[in-house]
Amino acid sequence: MDFLSADEWAVVALSLKVSGVAIMLVLPVSFAIAWVLERTRLPGKIFLDALVHLPLVLPPVVTGWGLLLLFGNNGPAGRFLADMLGITLMFRWTGAALAAGVMALPLMVRAIRLSLEGIDQRFEVAARTLGASRWKTFRSITLPLAMPGVLAALVLGFARSIGEFGATITFVSNVPEETRTLPLAIYTALQVPGGESTVTRLALVSIALSLAALVASEWLVRRGRQGESGHVL
């Protein structure tokens, strides 16, 4: 397509890969954390809650710097990943995905938590009396009832990670074809006088991507509600 150059298409593809992987990995983690926060009585859980919020409260560069200290080749977690699993994150798209995922985490946890909070637990109790184990109840009752929150989490998380900039550039730099996602390409263009038209084009692509995610999620929500019918009021 003429609207974007081949290089720019590569940036879009990279952004989708980074965000997609980030969100898919973070979704189960978010669900688990939301569950712990909402359904258990862990004594120190306010600290878990605070920890999850950190990437939201701290300026992204600080989060990126923290990731560098932890997951850099010389950081403890970075060494562990390299030695045990052979995964390196520095300057790699995997690192960009980690940064995007970490930044999306607080939003996703909160959305799922709000949905879990709204579930009437009497339905779960009913499922147990019908012979469903805890796990079966979770899959067949809790999870579908939490679906609006899960979809909201996916949309928020996807949008947030498509837009992630500060933590990524601080953690894994701006390496073409590895970590130069859409926001980093946009930033590069903003530094150049007259780069505004590139900025506009890439921003439009970002918007189109998130609009697509939105439409898909609204469609899923509506499908989930099908058959419901209400009152005039």
Partner: protein, 207 residues
Amino acid sequence: MSFDVDVSVRRAGRDIAVQFASDARVVALFGASGVGKTSTLEMIAGLLQPDRGHITIAGKTLFDKEAGINLLPEQRACGYVFQDGRLFPHLTVRDNLLYGWKLAPEHRRSLALDVAVGFLGIEHLLHRMPRTLSGGEAQRVAIGRTLLAGPRFLLMDEPLSSLDASRRDGIMRLIERIRDELSIPIIYVSHDRAEVERLAGCVIELD
């Protein structure tokens, strides 16, 4: 002995204590509103933990404080028809009905979907969502869901309260058949003397 129940629990600042042992196939729980009938069923179903006592039904001990026995609800297979329905809102009527049926072991699936649906008069509702059902329709689906799950015994909390006389009669006949042909013990909560006299071999008065 079909039933050997002796439990108590503290709720809303009051002690609810129930004690009965009976060989009847159907035991009716009677008593004023708020006396603890639903709480008793919840203890038997494993949804509310008694402060003390034991529960043995059809020869199987479900709970014994002293022996440290406390089966999970799904292990008790109790067939609970709730006072408040509790149809799963995200599943169609059909999927609600089959929820427990799919989980039941083969040998306990003694009732077929079409038989239950026929008796309950809910053929035309199978593809509806619970939210669009009338009060009595929802109640019938809830009864169907429980019966289809192949319960080892039944706990019925005013199951016929919002049904008209002729529907009531049809469903009572179904319950009688279950009582007699499958010899499943039943604990039945109702305010209707006629219902209770027709079904129950033993009436327990709570106070």
